[in-house]
């Protein structure tokens, strides 16, 4: 089972290997690959949107198709691109940062991925089966109930299945961080990326159930004749908005907090300085997460909740600016007095600071309820959340990919291509979105299929579209960089960046058991401590011994496939009760897998001490 042996196998064997893997590093690659694919898809949808809006009253897309495009762009980017890419990075790095051999539940880790992927594929099947969902990624009732065809049904089942995967992933990370930290790795010695993974997982645990419930109610309304959101039958449509945003607002922090963690690690590494105000950073993270649950109704200032609710949620929202500000200043203070290296990873990070600051500031502006009566549901909001999600999350993912690519794949991404793609994307990004703040206040609501002639909106939209294409080209060059690097890229040493945290103490890419001996941690930035005060190497906490590894399994894949089949059953049983069979077959497959998993003993296997001694050094 050594790595060399795995490489000698054929293509089909490699596919099988990935279908059955429970190794967090391989699952991470699966997440990155699938998330990257959906990111390109979402990007393509974005370009279609921008082409449609290149000139007034354009007819590149029909009204119906346009609504499908915006719905799928939002849904894909949030659920199928940004989240999985972050989950990929967490999977790849977090166990290494705490000195663990894997996550707590490797089998569940694999199940989480396959549920996400099958959910995403199910959602996208809608394109070929009569039309995608068209009620917006927020899917507000009653529009989502009234929407004809099966588009919204695909949205419901797709998100339900992939959401279950995410929830599983979150719980898994939580347990991993609580139980599997190496000796000496106290909570207050964890790198910020591990901290934010931890806090994010808590957010997932509490936020996703609200979405699950909302989707269930919507599912019953659409598929089984219930009327939770149907006003004519005594339902209430505003409840959907509450459920959606009780999930949806924390979701924003689920995305941005890991990015904060990535930036913290990168800034500290490339400034050659310990993170300034580490304790404050940790508590700011926790505070942001906590407040993140208190502010959902700021998405609903115009719903008519009344001045008391609006005032309370306005103030709570503004309060988030404080911990966020603390973070920005701590990052600046970390760089201050340091010795700053500027490479691609750092470029994305440095670009993040002013970009995200703008996004944060427009956030505070939006929090002012009465001002929001103007901003709400206009391009101002579109600009704001793209500054936060692209300027924060996407920049974070790209920074993280450049930073950890050598660790994950053993090769360093090409710097020249990295810089070209950065500048194109960065300039394109500001070109696309800055002007949209103004478009919004000039009277352009969001989700407008066309804007009318002679309303003063032409130039702004044209500029925005040009910017979007620059972003597209920048993104493509990044893909080219990945291909180039995997063929010709420079081989990476264990510690190419003079790193500080534990992941840089083991080879790039790490062996499948990660740490031959569990490391002993003596403080924050353990590797840095050993480099400057110790022997330059991490001290092991245990003598070399046999390592126990979990078995690979195809069950997660089959189980997810079962839910996928059942998903189709739920969607189409509305048309013909024969489809009920698909529900039974699909759920049956999943249940049988669960039964096998419960009854069969999985012993795992041992890597023997002798093999370890032979393989290394």
């Amino acid at each position: 089972m050594s790595i060399a042996a795995a490489q000698k196998k054929g293509f089909m064997a490699a596919v099988w290997d990935y279908l059955t893997t429970v190794d967090h590093k391989k699952i991470a690659k699966l997440y990155l690959f699938a998330g990257g694919f959906f990111f390109l898809l979402g990007g393509l949808e974005a370009l279609f949107i921008r082409i449609q809006l290149i000139s007034p009253e354009n007819d590149f897309l029909t009204a119906g198709l346009y609504n499908e495009m915006i719905t799928m762009h939002g849904t894909t980017m949030i659920f199928l691109a940004a989240m999985p890419l972050l989950l990929g990075l967490m999977n790849a790095i977090m166990p290494l940062q705490i000195g663990a051999r894997d996550v707590a539940f490797p089998f569940l880790n694999s199940l989480g991925f396959w549920l996400f992927l099958f959910g995403g594929v199910l959602l996208n099947c809608s394109w070929f089966l009569g039309g995608a969902p068209d009620a917006g990624w927020t899917s507000y009732a009653p529009l989502s109930i009234q929407s004809p065809g099966h588009g919204v049904d695909f949205y419901i089942m797709g998100l339900q299945i992939s959401g279950a995967g995410t929830l599983i992933g979150g719980i898994n990370f939580l347990v991993t961080i609580v139980t599997m930290r190496a000796p000496g790795m106290t909570y207050m010695r964890m790198p910020l990326f591990t901290w934010t993974t931890f806090v994010t997982s808590v957010l997932i645990l509490f936020a996703f159930p609200a979405l699950t419930v909302g989707l269930f109610l919507l599912m019953f309304d659409r598929m089984f004749g219930a009327a939770f959101f149907d006003v004519t039958l005594g339902g209430n449509s505003v409840i959907w908005q509450h459920l959606f945003w009780i999930f949806g607002h924390p979701e924003v922090y689920i995305l941005i907090l890991p990015a904060f963690g990535i930036f913290s690690d990168i800034i500290s590494t490339f400034s050659k300085k310990r993170l300034f105000g580490y304790t404050a950073m940790v508590f700011a993270t926790i505070l942001i997460a906590f407040l993140g649950f208190m502010v959902w109704a700021h998405h609903m200032f115009t719903v008519g909740l009344g001045p008391v609710a609006n005032a309370i949620f306005a103030i709570a929202t503004m309060a988030i600016a404080v911990p966020t500000g603390i973070k920005i200043f701590n990052w600046l203070a970390t760089m201050w007095g340091g010795s700053i290296t500027i490479n691609s990873a750092m470029l994305w990070t440095l670009a993040f600071i002013p970009s995200f600051t703008i996004g944060g500031m427009t956030g505070v502006m939006l929090a002012s309820a009465v001002a929001d009566y103007q901003y709400h549901d206009t391009y101002f909001v579109v600009a704001h959340f793209h500054y936060v999600i692209v300027g924060g999350v996407v920049f974070g993912i790209l920074a993280g990919l450049h930073y950890w690519w050598p660790k994950m794949f053993g090769r360093i991404l090409n710097e020249t291509l990295g810089k070209i793609s950065f500048w194109l994307f960065f300039i394109g990004f500001h070109l696309t979105f800055f002007i949209q703040h103004f478009l919004g206040l000039m009277g352009m609501p969001r989700r407008y299929w066309v804007f009318l002639e002679d309303q003063g909106l032409d130039n702004g939209n044209l500029i925005s579209t040009i910017g979007a294409f620059l972003m597209g080209i920048g993104g493509l060059i990044f893909v080219i960089n990945i291909i180039y690097t995997s063929v010709k890229g420079e081989k990476a040493s264990a510690d190419p960046w003079d790193g500080r945290s534990l992941e840089w103490a083991i080879p790039s890419p790490p062996p499948f058991y990660n740490f031959k001996q569990t490391p002993l941690i003596r403080g924050l930035d353990p590797l840095w401590i050993e480099k400057t005060e110790g022997k330059g190497k991490i001290t092991p906490a245990e003598p070399l011994g046999d390592i126990h590894m979990p078995d690979a399994s195809i069950l997660p894949f089959i189980m997810s496939f079962g839910f996928f089949v059942a998903g189709f059953g739920f969607i189409y049983q509305v048309d013909h009760s024969g489809w009920l069979a698909a529900i039974f077959i699909g759920i049956g497959i999943a249940l049988i897998c669960m039964l096998i998993r419960s009854l069969k003993d999985y012993h795992g296997f041992h890597i023997h001490k002798e093999d370890l001694e032979r393989e290394a050094d």
């Binding site: 529009l143 449509s237 502006m365 103004f438 989700r447 309303q455």
Partner: protein, 350 residues
Amino acid sequence: MIGWMGKRKPLFLFGMLALLLAGCGKENLTAFEPKGYGAESSMNLIILSIIIMAFVFAIVLLVYVITLVRFRKKKGQEDFIPKQVEGNKTLETVWTVIPIILVLILAVPTVAATFDLADKSEAQDGINVEVTGNQYWWHFNYEGDEVQTSQDLYIPTGERVYLNMISSDVIHSLWVPSISGKMDVNPENVNTMYLQAHEEGVYWGKCAELCGPSHSLMDFKVVAVSPEEYEQWISDMQSVDPEAEPEDAVAQDGKALFEEKSCVACHAIGSSPNATGPNLTNFGDRSKIAGYLEPTEENLVEWLMDPEAIKPGNKMTGNYPEVSEEEAKQIANYLLQLKPSDISPESAGN
């Protein structure tokens, strides 16, 4: 008033800058040039928050640039190991406390304005309009006056006109950027907001909540006229005789067709509770057809023959017998003559 201006002069200077940047947008549409009470409240907060934020951004940018210039790794110092600083209590307190103060500066006027705009204590004595949002048009019922109209909302300047809004289908959101911020139009409850326009004019209104394929075409207008003109308009609308025969023969045929082709089933002329389709009492004075087309005969004929091509997903398509071009012209002729009042968007300075 002068005192008010004087105190906020810097705000206005900054506002001018914002206008310059924005190229303003179109007059009577853009929120950058507020011409009503609500839009002004919002704009004051927007400007205040921009000033605070610009201040913060300037500081961040300053520190950022200095850091990058001063502390970038220098040639010949590749091995330099910076001092590992844990933190600094004073600094950290400063950048916690100052943002709290800044947030408070914004929070207080925000709360005040939120309660101010929600004040409906005088609604009883004011003008109340029942607004119904429909896919993809707006219906207005002047409560107590037995006057209904659609698409063009007439209001007197200087007065608060209370809109009691409900939706007949999905959620919409009523937005007249130059006069007031938006409020959702829900199917389950009546939301009330008020419009108060300072000057006469025809203001663009938009639907701001995704409501289906023609969401972006759900435009309407607010026609602000002087209070006297408004009174005149109401009484003109009240004295319409829906049965009155038009003078010329073409229009008479049009009127007959309007009944024959079951248009009357959805469209009321004169005061009527029927609001299945837009009320056409003063259709001849409409500032637009179907919310966004110029009110010409060709456009109207086109609408009558194929509304789907103009507003995808609208509720008129397919629900009436086919009309030939000839018939459409006759109907158009009739409809465009429906001008019961001298008060029209033109008199509001359109």
